[in-house]
């Protein structure tokens, strides 16, 4: 069996990228997985339809925190409509693991938070 904690995951867990806050970010979005206590807050700055900058804070298991870190690297500079298309498969590919129906929730939390953030940005944009 492939080990669940690859070098990459452990690396991101030990040295999370883009960890921290953005002051006066366009969007600050928090989500949590109350079943296990994992928490993620994303700080997002946008430039039209792309994500210009992203930082995150959070606590939780290595999978959720590494997923947040890796995702933050991937999405920077990407088109928001491409990001909201990301699904479970892409996250598993990104993490190089395949997870069961319970553990996958940890891995998907950052993506879920990110999408929520993007949607509230879109919502805001169309309001004004």
């Amino acid at each position: 069996m492939k080990e669940i904690y690859s070098e990459i995951i452990l690396d991101h867990w030990k040295n999370p990228r883009n960890k921290g806050r953005i002051e006066n970010a366009d969007i600050v979005i928090e989500d949590s997985n109350p079943l296990c206590g994992d928490k993620i807050t994303f700080y997002l700055d946008f430039e039209k339809e792309t994500i210009r900058d992203v930082k995150f804070e959070g606590s939780g298991c290595a999978i959720s925190q590494a997923a947040a870190s890796m995702l933050s690297e991937i999405v920077k500079g990407k088109n928001i409509y491409d990001i909201v298309k990301l699904e479970k498969d892409e996250i598993e590919k990104m993490l190089h693991v395949s997870l069961g129906p319970n553990r996958i929730k940890c891995a998907l939390l950052p993506l879920k938070a990110l999408k929520l953030g993007i949607y509230s940005y879109i919502g805001k944009k169309y309001k004004t």
Binding site: P34, L35, C36, G100, P101, N102, R103
Partner: protein
């Protein structure tokens, strides 16, 4: 007999009762189980038994997957839009309680309309709700042949908030025109007791355009202790939870709790995981045969039985097999249904006797009890012949 070959899958059909091979004509009470269902349960306990939802060890993930696959299987079987619309409960009775209790704020003092052919499980929860809410309970009758009075329903449906009705009566056998009722009462919440219909015919909640459906696994080849409450997502979101505890909450402090997402809001505590696994196996089995084929088989047997029995006993309900589900309730003048059942049992034939949890219906048609033979995919015309022979014996024994 097209479905004869499936008999071999049911181990119990080989046993003997009083030296005679079992003739099981009580499937409307509970069905027998094919070995595929029994083996699925055994396999669960021997190979991946674990508590679900929270656990991230392999057994827990496997059990969770199986449990949620069962939910998806049920959802597809009744053509629910989403698996989250399927809530696992103990049985039809609990499903109808969860529905009635959950709707109490939505129904408020609005009128609740039932039929006079309801099983106690689709009557007493609504009586309770009416009492709590100070709401009106009203009833649609049935005619001499056991058909629902549709004109009366049209009248009474006008200002009804809920219409709760059985799709197939467990005494009259009548199949009610649910789709037509849902059209007539498009403003009401339509609650369908599917205990006797879902096991025996194709039931499609979207095609019928109903809001709530209740049924039990044990009547459709599945294990005891598990049943389903289906409800439309928007309705489930508005409904109050019925049982409080673990799994159904999201956040808890000492003095407050917030409810979890669907379907978990309605599933508190460790569920009947083995039951869900067995239920899935049962549905897989039914679908392999095909619900249309099962319905056709039921009808053939019922048609044959109606013809053979009509000379011997007083049949309750519609005369035509096509308007009935696969069961026939009857009386035999002076002879009490218990005595009929007891004599038949001497010949290895299992039928039911009593009021079949439909006391008001029996009162209405002026009897205390009836005998009932009910059929499923494993029954044969030969078994009907044995039933007839045994009923002739009843007649002889109890001649005054």
């Amino acid at each position: 007999m097209r479905l004869e070959k499936y008999r071999k899958d049911f181990p119990i059909l080989k046993i003997k009762i009083n030296g005679k091979r079992l003739v099981y004509l009580d499937s409307a009470a509970t069905s027998q189980k094919p070995k595929q269902v029994i083996e699925a349960i055994t396999d669960y306990y021997q190979n991946y038994n674990a508590n679900i939802h929270r656990s991230i060890h392999s057994l827990g993930e496997e059990a969770t997957k199986a449990y949620e696959e069962a939910r998806e299987t049920v959802a597809k079987f009744i053509n629910a839009e989403k698996p989250e619309e399927v809530i696992f409960v103990r049985n039809t009775t609990e499903a109808l309680n969860v529905a009635a209790f959950g709707l109490r704020k939505i129904v408020s003092t609005g009128k609740i309309l039932l039929s006079e052919m309801e099983h106690h499980s689709n009557l007493i929860p609504w009586q309770q709700l009416a009492k709590i809410n100070n709401a009106k309970l009203d009833f649609v009758g049935f005619d001499q042949d056991g058909y629902l009075k549709i004109e009366e329903l049209k009248q009474k449906a006008r200002n009804a908030k809920v219409i709760a009705i059985t799709q197939a009566s467990n005494v009259l056998g009548t199949i009610n025109p649910i789709k037509e009722i849902a059209e007539i009462a498009s403003d009401a919440i339509i609650v369908v007791d599917g205990a006797q219909s879902v096991p025996h015919m194709p039931v499609d909640v979207q095609e019928l355009d109903i809001d709530i459906l209740a049924f039990s696994a044990h009547k459709m080849l599945g294990p005891t202790g598990i049943g389903v409450l289906y409800a439309r997502e928007e309705l489930l979101k508005k409904m109050e939870p019925f049982i409080f505890g673990s799994e159904m909450i999201k956040e808890v402090s000492f003095n407050n709790a917030s409810w979890n997402d669907l379907p978990y809001k309605f599933e508190a505590g460790t569920p009947h995981i083995a039951g869900a696994v067995g239920f899935k196996a049962a549905i897989d089995y039914l679908q392999k045969i095909g619900m249309k084929n099962i319905r056709r088989h039921d009808q053939e047997i019922t048609d044959y039985a109606l013809k053979k029995l009509s000379k011997l006993v007083n049949i309750i309900g519609p005369k035509k097999a096509k308007d009935r589900s696969g069961l026939i309730a009857f009386t035999m003048n002076d002879v009490h249904p218990h005595d009929i059942a007891a004599i038949l049992n001497e010949d290895g034939i299992a039928i039911r006797s009593g009021h079949h949890c439909a006391m008001p219906l029996h009162t209405k048609i002026g009897i205390n009890a009836s005998a009932r033979a009910s059929f499923y995919l494993y029954n044969t015309k030969q078994e009907i012949d044995l039933l007839v022979k045994s009923l002739e014996k009843v007649k002889r024994v109890f001649e005054k």
